[in-house]
Structures are given as structure tokens and as C-alpha cells.
């Protein structure tokens, strides 16, 4: 079987998870079964992954459990090719935001179909839950034309294209050339039909800029609307406590706090994680839920072994939709498993200084 045919077959198996989830059916196969096949495919076609497996003494041919496959640190996406296909066949390359050291991580994708299907399925279930589509989708962010390298912008565009009432770019995207169009957003919201809920998609820092610009004024959305907030502040706005920001967003848009839904995703993945507050009356805020084709495992940062239940570790994320790169990614985010999902507890702190040598954390602007 050619690498491309092998990849297509693996994509089809990943999409079968998404189909089953959407239809409320049992998953088509065990998570581990697809995971170990992905590990084998990726070790054959991503040379860095083969080296990592060999160094860690992992024989991918005899793998039985996803958790035994090495996870690739997100930093590797800044240094090396993390894809299992000819670079010329990339249909899109998503880039991470820059750091003090300048390097941006790259996640090329040969085909975004699986990404799009996965995003739509989990977003529909947890952000747009219960809404009768189409609805107006307003993005407090750039359009794909202005930020084609952003996976978040891509996801927003997929949501806007599939869920909205065919709005144009001018009536959908409200950040243009880096400028937040407050007046345009205000006019768009004022013109919404009062009986149809809307969905607002935004980053946390964009929302802080918006709230600062509004200076306490409200921008009421139709009843039943939802607001997605995602990402940290990354120095792009003042920092606001998560609970305070949720309250401010709810008051500004006249929505229930449970309709302000947190999303957690990253360029290196093909799946996202959502708070379930809009879909499940019993769900707690701050608890993120995985779709059945992804797992978040808190691991000990020294041993990389799973932490005991309830203890904090760094997030090892296994994403079966990451077919053509690496399915297991090691982040620098601290997480803890709780009932119903996992909590995000911020980025791992750098080593306390025991000299004047700069810490990696400081170098990357983390402190």
C-alpha cells in the first residue's frame, strides 16, 4: 500500500469515530487499535518520530496501547518536519504564534477534511448544542484571507461556513488588519433578528480589547446566543481572571455565563476540547471535555508516566485525527483529571533560578 493510500485508510478510520459520535453510535473500534496503527504509520514516515521511538526503546510494531507510544514535544514542531507526506502535497500549513526566540511551529496538513469534520462535530455538540442552524456566526478575529496560517482562524471559518446564514466576510469577521472593528460589530449585533440566537467566536485577548473599547457598555445578543472564548492572553492584552472575564462577557452580551464556552486547542493538534456548560446542565465551568477520538492524560514531567487520578501533570494529548503528523503530543500545559473531563491550570513554570543563566521559561517569555 502506498503511503498516501495508507494515510487515506487511517483518515477513514478516524472519520468513522466522528461519524459514530455524531450519530450517537458506539465507536467503531478501540481507541488503542487506531492509535497503535497511527504510531506505526508515523514512525515509518516521520523520521524524527522513528528516532524518538528508538531512543525510548519503543518497538512500534509490538505496541498495544496508545499510552506506550512516545509523545512528541510541541517544541519539535518549531525545529523539524512533523509530517508523513511529501511537503509539496501540503494543502495548508498552520503556524503557531511566535516566541521570543522567533521560531514558529509548523503543522502542515495534506488534507483538512478530517480536521474539519472533527471540529464541526465537537463544536456542534458542545458550543452549538441545541441551536437550530443556521445562525449568525460572528468572529471577533481575522478572516482566513488575512490569517491563512492560523488553525483557529481556519476553525472559525469552518464554523462560519457551515453554521451561519450565509453572511459575507464583512458581516462575519471583525478584526481587519489587526484592528478590532467595534463599530462594525456593534452595528451587526444591533441588526440581528431577536428571535435567532447567534454564535460569537473570539480569543480571550480579543474579548478583553472589545470589553475595554466598550468601557462598560452592553452589546446584547439575541436570547440563547453562545460565545466561544479561547486561548490565553499571550501579552496581547491585559490579563483578566478567567471567572471575571466570563462574567464580563456574559454581562456585555446579555447571555448566561454557562453560554460562554471555553475552547482549548492548539496548532499541533487536529481536535479541540470544549467546556460542556452549554450542553450539559450538570457540567462545571473550567472542565474541558474530550471527543471520543482524543485523550488528555496528565503525565509526570520528569518520567512522562501518567499521574495518579486527581493529580496535576503536563498534558500528553493523544489525537486520532492527527493522522499525517504525530498522534501523541506533549504540551507544556498543566492539567488535572476531574469528573467529566480535565481542568487547564496554566503553563508549566520554568525551573527556579540557581544562577544567572537564563531559564527556558524566561527565554520563551513565560514569566
Amino acid at each position: 500500500m502506498s503511503p498516501e493510500a495508507e494515510s487515506e485508510a487511517l483518515h477513514a478510520r478516524a472519520v468513522a469515530f466522528v461519524d459514530a459520535y455524531e450519530q450517537g453510535l458506539p465507536m467503531p473500534e478501540a481507541f488503542d487499535a487506531l492509535a497503535v496503527d497511527l504510531a506505526g504509520f508515523q514512525a515509518r514516515h516521520v523520521s524524527g518520530y522513528a528516532r524518538l521511538c528508538a531512543t525510548r526503546g519503543v518497538d512500534v510494531a509490538s505496541l498495544r496501547r496508545a499510552g506506550d507510544a512516545p509523545a512528541v514535544p510541541t517544541d519539535a514542531f518549531k525545529l523539524a518536519s512533523v509530517f508523513a507526506f511529501d511537503a509539496a502535497h501540503a494543502s495548508v500549513t498552520f503556524l503557531t504564534s511566535g516566541t521570543t526566540l522567533g521560531a514558529r511551529g509548523a503543522h502542515p496538513m495534506r488534507d483538512v477534511t478530517t480536521y474539519d469534520r472533527a471540529a464541526l462535530a465537537s463544536g456542534r455538540a458542545l458550543l452549538a448544542s441545541g441551536l437550530r442552524l443556521p445562525v449568525p456566526v460572528l468572529v471577533v478575529g481575522p478572516s482566513p484571507a488575512h490569517a491563512p496560517e492560523s488553525s483557529l482562524t481556519h476553525m472559525n471559518a469552518v464554523f462560519a461556513a457551515r453554521w451561519s446564514d450565509a453572511g459575507s466576510a464583512a458581516t462575519t469577521y471583525f478584526v481587519r488588519r489587526g484592528e478590532l472593528d467595534v463599530a462594525g460589530l456593534r452595528a451587526r449585533i444591533a441588526g440581528l433578528a431577536p428571535a435567532t440566537p447567534a454564535i460569537v467566536l473570539a480569543t480571550s485577548f480579543a474579548l478583553v480589547h472589545l470589553l475595554d473599547a466598550l468601557d462598560g457598555a452592553a452589546m446584547p445578543l439575541p436570547p440563547g446566543s453562545r460565545v466561544m472564548q479561547t486561548g490565553g492572553f499571550k501579552g496581547k492584552s491585559r490579563e483578566v481572571d478567567a471567572a471575571e472575564l466570563r462574567g464580563l462577557i456574559a454581562r456585555t452580551f446579555h447571555v448566561d455565563e454557562r453560554s460562554v464556552v471555553g475552547e482549548y486547542g492548539m496548532t499541533e493538534l487536529s481536535s479541540q476540547f470544549w467546556e460542556a456548560t452549554a450542553a450539559d446542565p450538570g457540567a462545571a465551568t473550567g472542565v474541558y471535555v474530550e471527543p471520543p477520538w482524543a485523550r488528555v492524560v496528565p503525565v509526570d514531567p520528569e518520567t512522562l508516566k501518567p499521574m495518579p487520578p486527581g493529580e496535576i501533570g503536563i498534558a500528553r494529548i493523544e489525537d486520532l485525527a492527527n493522522v499525517d503528523s504525530v498522534f501523541a503530543v506533549l504540551t507544556q500545559d498543566r492539567v488535572r483529571r476531574v469528573t467529566g473531563g480535565f481542568e487547564l491550570l496554566g503553563r508549566v513554570a520554568g525551573a527556579p533560578p540557581r544562577g544567572c543563566s537564563i531559564s527556558l521559561d524566561e527565554m520563551l517569555g513565560g514569566s
Binding site: 517544541d75 520528569e302 506533549l330 525551573a351 533560578p353 540557581r354 544562577g355 543563566s357 537564563i358
Partner: protein, 353 residues
């Protein structure tokens, strides 16, 4: 009345005499320093060799020039490399006839020993952690950027704060360098203070192709392996160990790795983005085609670079950022006592007169 330059030099020479006393009696301090720094006893002994105990008049006059002139300097020390208090106190004493020193609560041994040995009533230790109460007109603070910012926010109006922040060292091995000699010298630069000093090289640029960079990396791995036996690395904190694991997996993915009992050497292909390693005897080796490429490679970390070591001073001068020191390989951790280790702050200090 302001001290003359000669008087200041004499004051500094008395401080160096105190340093010689501390060095002579160092065995009494070793256990405390081992406990506070995590260095091995052999590592502490090696670190003591970097304690300045003498200096040329010319260097001391440069230090005085860099220190500026003021009435009273308050020095806030962090858990720095353990010999750093000598230079910090010297800079303060070069600038002012009155010096107060707040030693790091985590690592106070050497600062206390120096002040006691100096026996100079103008140099006193304080345990007061609140800089708002200091009567000094200038505060020298050593530590992370966040610490420096906290001190700036706390001092009285009109008090000048000079921050001595964190940085890193880099090295350049030119095409004419004998590989064995360069690797031996570099290994020593890496091992001193277990690389926790801002003069320790974490990045080594090798002029030549991948093969030559790999040769340097292999020899460096061998030399560090020899030092692992003779000068064992101390204890890494859990956070340092975590950073090590992450960096090693990243470099394994992107290049190649040589792991020893107490060190790791990574090799990346030319032109790759840099993966600067954590402290704790981790070194990244990359090939560069020529000095121009070395300058470009260094550009992304240039603001953080405190020193550039090289076998060739002319090449080092051509590649180093303007603010950085240059040094011979093997002597990167022993700069002359001619001003702050980190010259990024020296420029600020000159303005305080």
C-alpha cells in the same frame, strides 16, 4: 567627600584580600554551598577557582568607570552562581563608599563570608527584605526580570535601580580550531557551576559542515563524560530534570543526541531553528557555514547573550553582539574583574554619576 580613583582601587584591593581569605578557608563553606546550590563538592571546589582574588589595576579602573559614582549602593543578591557576590560587592564599592548587602536567603554563605572577612564598617549585611526602606540612592539587584521589576516598583522615589538580569553564553569553534583542544576547553566552560552561570555556553556554533559539527559534538560528549567522573554534576531540581527530558526528546526528534551520565550534547542540522537547552550541562551544537551565518544564527538570542567564547578572538569579535564579552574557550567563566559580568547593565551604570 568623593573618593579619588586611587582610593577606590585601594578599597577594591582590600576586598580582594578578603576574597583571598575566604578562598583559603573555603573548606568551611563547602557543605553549605553544596546544600544551597545542588553542586557536587567537587563542583563547588571548581567554582571557587572562579572567585576573583586578584586583578590588574587597569581592570579595577575599568570597573570603577563602569560602576559610576554615588553615595550609597544597596545590593540585592539572588541565588546566583555562588561566587557572584564578590563582583557584585566590588561594583557597589567601586561606586560608593557605603554598601549594604542583602544576601540571598537561599544562598547566603559566600556573601556573609566576604563581608565578615572584609571587616570594613562601610560594607554591611542586612536581612531587611523590603527595599522600600533602604536609604541607598542606588540599588543593584541581581535576579530574574520579574525580581528586578518588583524591586523597581518598591524603591523610594528617586532611587535608581540597576538590574543585572539573566543571560546565557555561546561559543564559536572556527574552522581552524583543533577539535580536541576546543572540546576539552568547552567542556570545562560547561561544567563550571553546572552551567547555571550566564557565562556558560549552552550553544556551540561550529564553522564547517555537519560532519565537523558532529565531530566537535562527539569530542565534547567524550570530554564531558570524563568530567562526569572527575567533577560530577550536582543534583538537578525536578523542574530542571523536566526541562532536560523535554529538550532531549525535542532534539532527538529534530537531530541527534549524545547522553552521558551527567551531561547531554544535542546536534541539529545547519539552518534549523535553535533549541536552546536548559542549564545543567546540556549543550546544543550546530554547524554554520561561515561567520556571517554564525551572526545570523546568534541573532535570535543575541539580546540574551552575555559572552561569546571562541578559539579565535577576531572571529569572536566579528560574531558577538556589541554588548557581549568575548573570551577564550576554557576561560569563559573567568572574565577579568573589570565591570559587571553582564555588560548589558554596564551601559546603564555609567549613566549613574
Amino acid at each position: 567627600m568623593e573618593r579619588s580613583a586611587d582610593e577606590r582601587v585601594r578599597d577594591l584591593r582590600r576586598l580582594l584580600e578578603a576574597a583571598r581569605q575566604v578562598y583559603a578557608n573555603r573548606s568551611r563553606l563547602v557543605p553549605a554551598i553544596v546544600a544551597s546550590t545542588g553542586l557536587s563538592p567537587q563542583g563547588v571546589e571548581l567554582g571557587f577557582e572562579s572567585l576573583e582574588r586578584d586583578a590588574a589595576d587597569e581592570d579595577l579602573r575599568s570597573l570603577i568607570q563602569a560602576a559610576g559614582s554615588t553615595r550609597h549602593v544597596h545590593v540585592v543578591l539572588s541565588a546566583n552562581v555562588f561566587v557572584a557576590p564578590l563582583r557584585a560587592i566590588a561594583l557597589a564599592l567601586g561606586a560608593a563608599p557605603r554598601v549594604t548587602v542583602r544576601a540571598s536567603p537561599r544562598d547566603p554563605a559566600l556573601a556573609r563570608a566576604l563581608v565578615e572577612a572584609a571587616g570594613d564598617p562601610r560594607i554591611t549585611l542586612t536581612v531587611d527584605r523590603d527595599v522600600a526602606a533602604t536609604e541607598a540612592d542606588v540599588v543593584h539587584v541581581y535576579g530574574r526580570d520579574a525580581t528586578i521589576a518588583e524591586v523597581r516598583a518598591r524603591v523610594r522615589a528617586g532611587v535608581r535601580v540597576l538590574g543585572h538580569g539573566a543571560g546565557l553564553g555561546a561559543a564559536l569553534v572556527t574552522g581552524k580550531a583543533p577539535v580536541g583542544e576546543a572540546a576539552r576547553a568547552l567542556a570545562l566552560d560547561v561544567a563550571v557551576f553546572d552551567q547555571r552561570g550566564c557565562l556558560s555556553p549552552r550553544l556551540v556554533m561550529v564553522v564547517g559542515d555537519q560532519e565537523r559539527a558532529s565531530e566537535v559534538a562527539e569530542r565534547l560528549h567524550a570530554e564531558l563524560g570524563e568530567l562526569d567522573m572527575r567533577l560530577p554534576r550536582g543534583v538537578l531540581s525536578p523542574e530542571e530534570s523536566s526541562e532536560s527530558v523535554r529538550w532531549r526528546d525535542t532534539v532527538t526528534f529534530a537531530g541527534a543526541l549524545r547522553v552521558g551520565g551527567g551531561h547531554t550534547v544535542g546536534i541539529l542540522p545547519g539552518g534549523a531553528s535553535l533549541a536552546i537547552p536548559p542549564a545543567g550541562r546540556h549543550v546544543l551544537v550546530v554547524p554554520v557555514r561561515d561567520l556571517a551565518e554564525a551572526r545570523r544564527a546568534l541573532a535570535v538570542v543575541a539580546p540574551l547573550v552575555v559572552t561569546l567564547g571562541s578559539d579565535d578572538p577576531v572571529a569572536a569579535a566579528a560574531v558577538a553582539p556589541a554588548h557581549a564579552r568575548t573570551a577564550e574557550l576554557g576561560a569563559m567563566q573567568r572574565p577579568p574583574l573589570d565591570g559587571p559580568v553582564d555588560r548589558r547593565t554596564a551601559l546603564d551604570a555609567i549613566a549613574v554619576t
